[in-house]
Symmetry: C2
Subunit: 213 residues, 2 copies
């Protein structure tokens, strides 16, 4: 299967989550209009997204919930649990440990790492916290190849270098920095300030447009 657009990939978990909900509720099929209203994605986009995976619906019938669910589950590797390491148990790291992606059943944080000696050796929200010195060793022992980066910005570059050297495959980056990594390492940047600024930018645009009308 070829790489699909990032925007499509980001919508797959949303489709999958809603289909699981429908399936649990005993629903066997759904029209594209219903699906569109439920997930707040317009139906043209849904059809285009689905087209990357071949034609999945039937005209006049809609989509078969169980078939779609299995299909997206397989695509998203829902059967396989991915364990991740959280690096940096500060306030955001702590919130992520507590949250631990509970809404999903295929990803979880399995280990935390920090420099704080008061934290090392403790268990937070059921997750053991290791010293950052044990990073490479624990990643190997626990066969972890995805890391969540919540360290202060000034330590981020060094940690990313160590992660790459240790053979990490993916990093969910919560720092505002952008990293140069080999092409076999995937980085997904989550920039909360940026999300808020983007929202405000669009609000301001709406107001500017209104005042011109």
């Amino acid at each position: 299967m070829k790489d699909i657009p990032r925007a499509t990939a980001k919508r797959l978990p949303i489709y999958h989550r809603y289909l699981r909900y429908l399936h649990n509720a005993g629903k066997t099929r759904i029209s594209s209009t219903e699906l569109s209203e439920a997930v707040k994605v317009d139906s043209a986009t849904i059809r285009r997204d689905f087209s990357y995976f071949g034609a999945l619906g039937k005209r006049g019938y809609g989509y078969d919930v169980e078939y779609l669910l299995q299909f997206f589950g397989k695509t998203l590797n829902q059967d396989r649990l991915t364990t991740t390491a959280l690096i940096g148990v500060g306030s955001l790291g702590n919130a992520l440990l507590n949250y631990n992606f509970r809404k999903s059943n295929n990803v979880r944080i399995g280990a935390g790492f920090d420099v704080n000696k008061d934290l090392v050796g403790t268990v937070h929200s059921g997750i053991p916290i290791y010293s950052i010195e044990e990073l490479e060793e624990q990643l190997e022992i626990q066969a972890i190849d995805v890391a969540i980066l919540t360290v202060p910005q000034e330590f981020a570059e060094e940690i990313v270098d160590r992660l790459v050297a240790a053979g990490i495959k993916g990093i969910l980056n919560f720092t505002p920095l952008r990293f140069e990594v080999p092409s076999h390492v995937r980085i997904q940047n989550v920039d909360l300030t940026n999300e808020l600024q983007t929202l405000i930018y669009f609000i301001n645009q709406d107001e500017a447009n209104l005042s011109m009308e």
Copy 2:
């Protein structure tokens, strides 16, 4: 100015942040190649992004740092401070209060809201926490029109209805739900599980592609 693509809008704060850094470091101009390397956005994308705002660079000279900085600052409304309300002071809410978008100088959280009687009336990371019953009143008194939603999923729908009725203009939504709101209300969804699943999806795709080579 017309609406620019969402992807471009999301990159504006990144450009702006780096330009501020350059300006503070005393740099007066930057080539598109340097800018591209620094912000990890390919130069074709940068040129396309900049084209929405008219031609900003000069061939053979690059970009004038101060001019660009002022230009993006104005576009992003960096001169105007936007105060937001945080609704739901749980573990993620607390992390956001502590974080409080410090890297930016134009957005901050000014008030927190929760149902927990132990929290109401206290100050967390310098931010006063109000009872959710005071929501409408405080939004009006403090002239807040942007909210950050970090409540448990089961209360989200009701809070969004109240925010919309109170005249909110934008919501940064951290719940996994998608809301139906009037067109004058902007919602920016931040779905952390989705971000992690997208990352893992791409890692799996990389591996599938490798094993086919």
